[in-house]
């Protein structure tokens, strides 16, 4: 079995393994599993090797290669990289080449990590199954290839489950890191809003989007987050809050932390097996000395409609730039500027993207703004207050990540409402700007992983990672390998 992220970095820093070997190993793993998973949109072979050789030369000269030296990383296809294309899974950006690297890509590279691939996703992050990919098509779940890996960071989740020792960048607007992490049995963190720069992340809903990672365990998440987090002058919404050493923070353990169980997070519609595994997981934490108590987040039931309105409104504006004029797909049929807009967008956006643009345009329109968008913003404040109140009593809250486990490809794709319902337990974190982490807490009888989610106070990402790490020290769900494994 390939070594993990921290072991790889230690080996490369200690000159036991060359960065070139680590990168070749990572690319080899991807090549072995991808034919079954369709998880990546592009593999960066020559350039990655050159970057690795360059790093090895620096190490040979005695330079500090950074804390993540020689670690391979993948970027979700909505994160800009100078190399290759950045498509967001959309036909409208099929051949789009970004003129710059996203801040996270730069930061990981500065830490010594090397980008080796771009991963598949639902178009512009809109979806919970990675079936809405117009570039690669559906990604498959390594636990069962007839099933979806969740989404929208499905490619990253599938790779995180089927390979070892890499960092997988994802993005999360309403659960797009945590839900696929749950479906694929890996650990995924959506950091606090403002913790990680969004510069270079193709915006879906700017006030909700956040970049995070999908990893084998909380420790790897902590290592990646330490390198990525922090204020970025290019992103005004990134926060000037000190970045702790998240890995070192894990050692503080879970004892004495207070954990809230919100009754609203175990509603009708949560698969009984999912609920059972999560309750067992809570017992594990209790046995570790965590003070478990019930809390209430009374506005939870309004979270999903609020999310749908706000995310669609922002998306309708964020996606306006894809118009066939300056870059990206342009219809060959168009004869006038208006036709360039209309035809290019009609031909190159997928149905889910169009649906959300229409909803968003509608809720921002004169006469409907107050009833929809404005009201949703008010409810969002109430949801945020729910969390503020709960976090006066507890240090974290716990819930299932998703009401259901991975479902068969094609099962929900024709029923948007059914698919939106999958997000119900993850969207509150984005609305409330709090950090959320999902990690495996067991399996269903059918052998599919179940994810458990922890929310923490804004900018206390370390606390939920600590809890997850303590859980993983006491359990081995996260060590189980899926049938498709490199």
């Amino acid at each position: 079995m390939s070594p993990g992220v921290l072991e790889t970095a230690a080996a490369v820093r200690g000159r036991k393994v060359k960065a070139a070997e680590s990168v070749a190993e990572a690319i080899g793993q991807i090549r072995r599993v991808d034919p079954q998973l369709h998880a990546v949109s592009q593999v960066r072979e020559d350039e990655a090797r050159r970057a690795a050789d360059d790093l090895d030369r620096r190490i040979a000269r005695g330079e500090d290669p950074g804390p993540l030296a020689g670690v391979a990383f993948t970027a979700k296809d909505n994160i800009c990289t100078r190399w290759g294309t950045t498509t967001a899974g959309s036909k409208i950006l099929e051949s789009y080449r970004a003129p710059y690297d996203a801040t996270v890509v730069e930061r990981l590279a500065r830490a010594g990590a090397i980008c080796v691939a771009k991963t598949n996703m639902d178009e512009f992050g809109m979806g919970s199954s990675t079936e809405n990919s117009a570039t690669v098509g559906p990604t498959r779940n390594p636990w069962r290839t007839t099933h979806v890996p969740g989404g929208s960071s499905g490619g990253a989740a599938a790779l995180a489950a089927a390979t070892r020792g890499m960092i997988h960048l994802g993005s999360d607007t309403g659960g797009s890191i945590r839900q696929p992490a749950a479906c694929c049995g890996v650990t995924g963190i959506k950091p606090s809003y403002g913790r990680v720069s969004r510069y270079g992340l193709l915006a879906f809903a700017s006030s909700l989007d956040q970049i995070g990672v999908l990893e084998a365990d909380a420790r790897e998440c902590a290592a990646a987050l330490s390198a990525m987090a922090g204020k970025d002058p290019m992103d005004s919404t990134s926060a000037d809050v000190p970045v702790p050493d998240y890995v070192a923070g894990l050692e503080k353990g879970a004892r004495g932390l207070r954990l809230g169980v919100p009754k609203e997070y175990f509603p009708e519609g949560v698969d009984p097996e999912v609920e059972a595994r999560v309750r067992e997981g809570i017992d594990v934490l209790r046995r570790l000395g965590v003070d478990v108590r019930e809390v209430s987040l009374p506005h939870t039931r309004h979270a999903n409609p609020t999310y749908v309105l706000i995310s669609a409104a922002e998306a309708s504006s964020n996606l306006a730039r894809y118009d066939g004029v300056h870059y990206g797909y342009r219809s060959s049929e168009a004869g006038s500027v208006l036709e360039v807009y209309a035809r290019s967008r009609a031909e190159a956006f997928g149905p889910e993207v169009k649906r959300r643009i229409m909803v968003g345009t509608f809720v921002l329109s004169a006469g409907y703004y107050d009833a929809f968008y404005n009201k949703a913003c008010k409810v969002r404040k109430l949801i945020r207050r729910d969390f503020e109140a709960a976090f006066r009593e507890v240090d974290a809250v716990v819930s299932p990540t998703s009401p259901v486990t991975a479902f068969p490809i094609g099962d929900k794709i024709d029923d948007p409402l059914k698919l939106y319902a999958v997000d119900v337990l993850t969207v509150p974190a984005n609305l409330a700007t709090v950090p959320g982490v999902s990690f495996p807490c067991g399996f269903t009888r059918a052998g599919l992983p179940v994810g458990m989610q922890l929310y923490g106070r804004p900018f206390e990402d370390g606390t939920i990672l600590r809890l997850a790490h303590a859980f993983q020290e006491a359990t081995d769900h996260h060590r189980k390998a899926p049938p498709v494994r490199a």
Binding site: C80, Y100, R198, M234, T237, A320, V325, Y341, Y369
Partner: protein, 488 residues
């Protein structure tokens, strides 16, 4: 300040109601939301980056200097400065707008209220402001005659733009022109905008309606866009007011429309009607955190404001005793007024100095299209010239030639006067000899002077001037003639 023009409502039962929307580009070093250079006239699309090109994933970051400039303008106009403000997205599709939304301000502008005092003829009028807000400029679409395709230059995209919206307090095209000129002066005094209408750093849209004289309701208005000179604004308004009067007088109703003015034909054409009005779907810009300002910051900016044109206009008249005309001409051009004040500081005779600055210096500056300072005569040398006149060293008439000779060199005024042979002779003994000689040559006129005929004094002075090749001090000569002939 400007001479009276025809009021198009004169002799009709209507009055006009005019409001102006002025866009001024701020002359910050970099653009509003990115680090690109803010400069006019570069090769197309060379002053761009992923942010102002609207590339996927790029994000705006606020240029604090632009905010500061905007607040300075607000303070200069007596506006209320918001202590908490935010940006909003104005959504519409246009090829010169790469994101297909403009980052602007909607319901919480940076500055609210305020007013600008304008002078129309003898009257001073206070024109209220609705708001001043900050936004980003769009790029420029370029259409070539006879070509099917168009181009887009995004150098201008993202340039900081101030929108200054007046209340509908203006009643005539002339007032609108006076308002624009005063606003331009304020922006120039604050040094926040080049205000160059040809380069588009100052642009104006007007809203105009008419109503029966004496009524107060606002009636359907039209908006005229694309007005790129003050004269066009005045002409377009006059044209549109006449058109609306004609429509109303013949029993029709004015339709809400957006019009484009064609200065070559002095006509407007319809750009869009009411039914095509945009729904801009404004909502708060989620990529930018709201801004809040401390009292200290705002007060610090308030303290650093320079003297503004209206105050200077009053001071030049009241404290320095200049005429309204001189005060106006000087204040209009901050550089000219600064030049003038430097001169006065060196030689505190404001009226004499003003004459020279307003006439000689300004004429030279206008001819060569340069600033007062760039004419090549420094305040200290101009003052030396004025002093030489006052001290009788050179005549007022000849001084104009001296002034010309001062330009573009550093020679002392006295040397120039000497070199030109224009030194005025004020030597009493020399002049007395000349006067005696002339009196002997012209006994007739001398006799007339003795009898009290003033005209003959002038004749004799002229003869002395001739004899001295124009260098005699004419005042002294006249005095001496009076003395010698006992008829002073």
């Amino acid at each position: 300040m400007a001479k009276a023009k025809l009021d198009p409502t004169e002799g009709t039962p209507f009055e006009a109601v005019i409001g102006l929307e002025v866009h001024a580009q701020l002359k910050t070093r970099t653009k509003m939301f990115c680090g690109c250079e803010n400069r006019y006239g570069a090769e197309p699309n060379t002053l761009t980056c992923p942010v102002c090109l609207g590339h996927p994933g790029s994000l705006p970051a606020i240029n604090r200097r632009a905010v500061e400039y905007a607040v300075r303008v607000g303070l200069a106009c007596g506006c209320e400065i918001a202590r908490f403000t935010k940006f909003d997205r104005k959504n519409y599709y246009y090829p010169d707008l790469p994101k297909n939304y403009q980052i602007s301000q909607y319901d919480m502008p940076l500055c609210g209220g305020g007013a600008i005092d304008v002078y129309v003829g003898e009257a001073k009028r206070r024109i209220g402001l609705t708001r001043i807000h900050l936004e980003e400029d769009a790029g420029k679409n370029i259409h070539a005659e006879g070509r099917p395709e168009s181009w887009v230059d995004l150098n201008r995209a993202g340039v900081p733009l101030l929108e200054i919206v007046s209340k509908p307090d203006l009643g005539t095209p002339e007032e609108a022109g006076a308002y624009l000129r005063m606003l331009r002066q304020i922006l120039l005094y604050l040094d926040v905008s080049d205000c160059n209408m040809e380069e588009g750093s100052l642009r104006c849209d007007v809203n105009v309606s008419i109503r029966p004289r004496g009524t107060s309701a606002l009636e359907t208005r039209t908006e005229i866009k694309n007005l790129n000179s003050f004269t066009f604004v005045e002409n377009a308004l006059a044209h549109e007011i006449r058109r609306q009067i004609k429509v109303r007088s013949s029993g029709g109703t004015v339709e809400q429309q957006t019009l484009l003015y064609d200065p070559a034909r002095d006509e407007t054409r319809v750009m869009r009607g009411k039914e095509e009005a945009h729904d801009y779907r404004y909502f708060p810009e989620p990529d930018l955190a709201p801004l809040s300002f401390t009292e200290e910051w705002v007060e610090g900016l308030r303290r650093s404001l320079p003297e503004l044109p209206a105050a200077r206009y009053e001071r030049l008249q009241n404290a320095l005793g200049l005429s309204a005309y001189h005060a106006d001409v000087l204040v209009r051009d901050r550089g000219m007024a600064d030049f003038f004040e430097e001169c006065v500081a060196l030689y505190p005779k404001p009226q004499a100095v003003a004459n020279w600055v307003v006439n000689a210096v300004r004429e030279e500056a206008n001819i060569r299209q340069v600033s007062a300072r760039e004419t090549g005569v420094s305040p200290s040398r101009l003052v030396d010239l004025v002093r030489a006149i006052d001290e009788g060293k050179v005549s007022n008439q000849k001084a104009r030639d001296v002034f010309k000779a001062l330009l573009g060199n550093e020679r002392p005024v006295a040397d120039v006067i000497r070199a030109l042979g224009l030194e005025q002779i004020s030597d009493d003994a020399f002049l007395r000899d000349a006067v005696s000689a002339v009196i002997q040559e012209h006994p007739g006129p001398a006799e007339d002077v003795r009898k009290g005929k003033k005209n003959s004094v002038n004749f004799l002075v002229g003869q002395v001037m001739r004899r001295t090749k124009g260098q005699a001090n004419p005042g002294m000569v006249a005095k001496l003639i009076g003395e010698v002939l006992g008829a002073s």
